[in-house]
Assembly symmetry: none
Homo-oligomer: 143 residues x 2
DNA sequence: TATTCATGGTGGTAAAAAGTGCGATTTGGT
DNA sequence: ACCAAATCGCACTTTTTACCACCATGAATA
């Protein structure tokens, strides 16, 4: 089965070489190493090795026509992240650029994944979140 | 099944590190640890671990496209609160900021959840409560 | 070919900030 | 007045930040 629910919002900062300390609480839940790849809405997704494997397994079994592009995006963009003794991970230059990460970054725990956002993007995204509208969208699923 | 009905209004205060003592009565009903996350109208919601897990389970099984925004809001805003020996819980900086919590804080028991408000916001909200209008909103839904 | 230089990645340390624990005092309800 | 709950201040620990020196690689140049 899966692991503990990832959750929470964390402010972190990146050094000039593209390393950021990954929140201790999330590190605990994800294990020794994990996978960072491209996500949706311009953020990076972070999965445990196991969950990443599981997602890939799903994708592998889909018709190529439907899944090839997403696989290039998702699997092709992936990298292994191993926190160093100080809990820092290196975000490769390509991913940094893709997600427009500079100094201030936000890390989110979202159930079975984490998300890494540039602070600017997150704030913009966040401002447009309207909790009433979200609730409405989720009526029907028993919320 | 669910637990005892949460109810009441409590005035609490937060220390400089963002800890607040959580009302003893509500603590009793919620258990050893519980979840604090973003709610509606600018307050924080507090759920028992079980209720939170149940909601998350629902969310996890929805297609990402439909649920991602709400998960960011709900799960991404969540944190485990574990009262210390003095009954205090820590509200993480991100949530404090989001709910604009400073020194004076109001805690409400509302059925299966609690709500944490900044005193100012609560008073403003409270002044604008019009019981006739409230009843009206409930026509149509069988109250 | 050997040298320089920019770039990306690694490792470590010191200090700041965030979080935690404890004890003493105050508050508020009964 | 008494007791439990809440508040406050202080010390301590962990996590994060901000630097800095170093290494490897590959491109540019003499």
């Amino acid at each position: 089965m899966s692991m503990k629910t990832l959750m929470g919002t964390y402010n972190q900062s990146m050094d000039v070489k593209g390393r950021m300390s990954f929140p201790a609480k999330l590190r605990e839940a994800l294990g020794e190493q994990f996978i960072v790849t491209r996500g949706v809405d311009g953020c990076l997704f972070v999965y445990s090795q196991e969950d990443f494997d599981r997602k890939n397994e799903q994708l592998k079994n889909l018709p190529m026509k439907a899944s090839k592009d997403f696989q290039r995006f998702f699997t092709g963009g992936a990298t292994v992240a191993e926190p160093d003794k100080q809990g820092r991970i290196l975000i490769p230059a390509a991913l940094r650029k893709w997600a427009e990460l500079e100094k201030d970054v936000i890390v989110l725990g979202v159930n079975d994944r984490c998300e890494i956002w540039s602070k600017e993007k997150w704030e913009e995204f966040n401002e447009n979140i309207d909790s009433d509208a979200l609730l409405e969208a989720l009526e029907g699923v028993g919320f």
